[in-house]
């Protein structure tokens, strides 16, 4: 008669040998699966979250989104966000149009960068003078239809790696809801995100922003008008015509 | 709208869990022996380990507690074959569904 296993009695020899073999097989399978899954993860990109607190000096604006216009030519615009998943609109409000020095962490991917303003009231230093510097806007002109993904630039430029795709969708929608400006990454051009604006060139808000949030993190087809603000490429979009691919 | 519904769900579920947790504490201190005499003289660890279940299924446990005076009859597990064919039927239905869902999800990515 074959061996019979009872949990609370001693294990029969054959069953013991069989079980040992099973443990070896199961461990090998687990190790193999861990190895395959871990090694085939997609490239999270080369975005960098700065190691130290940086200082940037320039003129503070908040149209269309809170940003710093750096001195020098060509004009550089650095978007500002707060710590956590929040924009910097409220913090910028007291210093609009002023020359300021902002302390924070630089998030960078390729040429695209962003400044996370440090916590605390002294993170934005008012340098006194109000400098009349206008944002150089190249009005939206070319009509384009781009394939790509709407992203939240904070995660995408280095807060999370990877900071795009379906699994990041919920986080990205939380970021956009918190006031971080929406951007768009065209397929094959990961280092050149576009800033998204409404058709009048203003910030996307309200229902339009909600529609943008519906599509964030997904592969979409985006009809838009391309332009630029300072050194940042922009896309003026009507959210109603965005389509899933 | 979605936010409103989400908040409502969180409040309802949170309330359910909170009531369940408070109930569970009371139950393991004074109710468990009345529902199941085997719990008399049971270890403290046993009482701790059933807390999550009591908190999660508190309406069921409450009903048992209230009915405890009438006596309990666990009953026999039931006949054998119906159970196995249920298992087979479940997998006969589920396997094609799983494969279909899998393919649909892959086509759409």
């Amino acid at each position: 008669m074959s061996e019979f296993y009872v949990g609370y009695l001693e294990m029969p020899r054959g069953v013991r040998r069989f079980s040992l073999g099973l443990v070896v097989i199961v461990f090998s399978v687990m190790a193999g699966v861990a190895l395959l899954l871990a090694s085939q993860q997609r490239d999270p990109g080369d975005a960098r979250w700065g190691d130290e607190i940086a200082e940037l000096q320039g003129t503070l604006i908040d149209t269309p989104y809170p940003a710093l216009l750096l001195q020098g030519q060509p004009q550089q615009m650095v978007l500002l966000v707060s710590t956590g998943k929040q924009g910097a609109r409220e913090r910028a409000a007291a210093h609009l149009g002023r020359s300021v020095r902002v302390h924070g962490t630089i998030l960078q991917r390729g040429r695209a960068r962003l400044l996370e303003v440090s916590d605390g009231v002294d993170a934005i230093e008012n340098l006194g003078a109000t400098i009349d510097r206008d944002l150089v806007i190249a009005a939206p002109f070319a009509a384009v239809e781009l394939r790509g993904e709407i992203i939240d630039p904070k995660c995408y430029l280095g807060a999370m790696k990877p900071g795009e795709g379906k699994t990041h969708k919920a986080c990205a929608s939380l970021c956009l809801r918190g006031g971080i400006p929406p951007m768009f990454v065209e397929d094959g051009k990961p280092d050149r995100p576009y800033l998204l604006l409404d058709m009048q060139g203003h910030a996307l808000t309200g229902d339009q922003l909600e529609t943008i949030i519906d599509f964030v993190g997904e592969a979409v087809l985006l009809p838009a008008r391309a332009g630029s603000m300072g050194d940042l490429p922009t896309l003026a979009v009507d959210p109603a015509v965005i389509r899933r691919r | 709208m979605a936010l409103l519904i989400a908040r409502l769900i969180v409040i309802v579920l949170g309330g359910y869990a909170l009531i369940g947790f408070i109930f569970a504490i009371a139950f393991v201190i004074s109710g468990v022996e009345r529902v199941d005499q085997n719990a008399t003289g049971s270890t403290r660890g046993f009482r701790l380990i059933i807390i999550p279940g009591v908190a999660g299924l508190w309406p069921v446990v409450l009903a048992k507690w209230l009915a405890a005076r009438r006596g309990r009859h666990a009953g026999y597990i039931g006949s054998a074959t119906s159970d196995m064919s249920l298992h087979l039927r479940w997998w006969l239905v589920m396997t094609p569904l799983l494969i279909l869902a899998f393919i649909v999800a892959l086509i759409n990515r």
Partner: protein, 354 residues
Amino acid sequence: MSVAYRTVQWNAHKRVYDLVIIAGIGLYLALFMVVGSLVWRGDHAISLMILLIRAFGTCSVVMLHLVLCIGPLARLEPRMAPLLYNRRHFGVATFLVGLGHASLVLLWYHGFGVISPPVSLLASNVQYRSISAFPFEMLGAIALLILFLMAATSHDFWLANLSPRVWKRLHRCVYLAYALLVAHVALGALQSERALIYPTILGAGVVLVSGLHLAAGLRENRRNRQRRVEAVSERWINACNATDIEDGAAVTVTLPTGERVAVYRNGTNLSAISDRCAHQGGPLGEGRIVGGCVTCPWHGYQYRPEDGQSPPPYTEKLPTYRATVNAGRVMIDPLALPPGTRVEPARIDEVNDE
């Protein structure tokens, strides 16, 4: 069981079993983290938190596959019985690893925002009508809730107090949890990860789990038909030859009513009891007589063959059947007697002219 409850009824095998589970989880997580941080390094490094989320998530998916294979494997190959013996702890471990994944996700993807993490989980994506955009997180959350209910009710206290039938039904919801989890992965991670290895491994897992369950179910069905026995008179059913039954073991037959009966031989005594263990429905006919008692192959629950009762202090009871031997054939009265009814065993050398 009818002795005072303890936290866990440990014994040597369960300890070894649990150590193996913990070692397996540790091995998987460590390998995933090490390989994950070696493959993408420097500026291309994956965030530590995201690596952890992926390690825990994939680990619990692998574990659920393994735990779901145990049932059918033990049906197909009796030497797999030790896997089944402590399956509950495997299930609880699977839930805990899944909980680790969910907690990290809630903190990392849903935290630090302007709305609270649980509200964000429910409201951040409501594209329920889309396939590619479907809120896959909810599928995982419901699967985890099912695993929680199972883990939380895994103590024998729940088996006794929810009744074995309800308990079994609740725990069969694991199949639903599995389906939800497959959809969670297919509509989540597989939408972003482009490497072919991910759908390949998940597909292989689905085929393996479904295939094993179908194979075990079909075999069980076939066996039930083969073991079907017919009535020879108004009262008696011809079960088998008395000599077909090995001493200390049983022959299982399916009555015309569909019930299964285990006919046990203990020396020269023959007794017929229900095939279904009162604990979790284990196939008693595949058990043995150990220490004079019928012993279930799943968790070692014991019953006296003559009255279907567990020896004191235990209180489980099985329905019994009248049996007799006629011209070398074992005859069974298909009328199940109330659980625990004593029946005089038939004797293998007995001659009965009824």
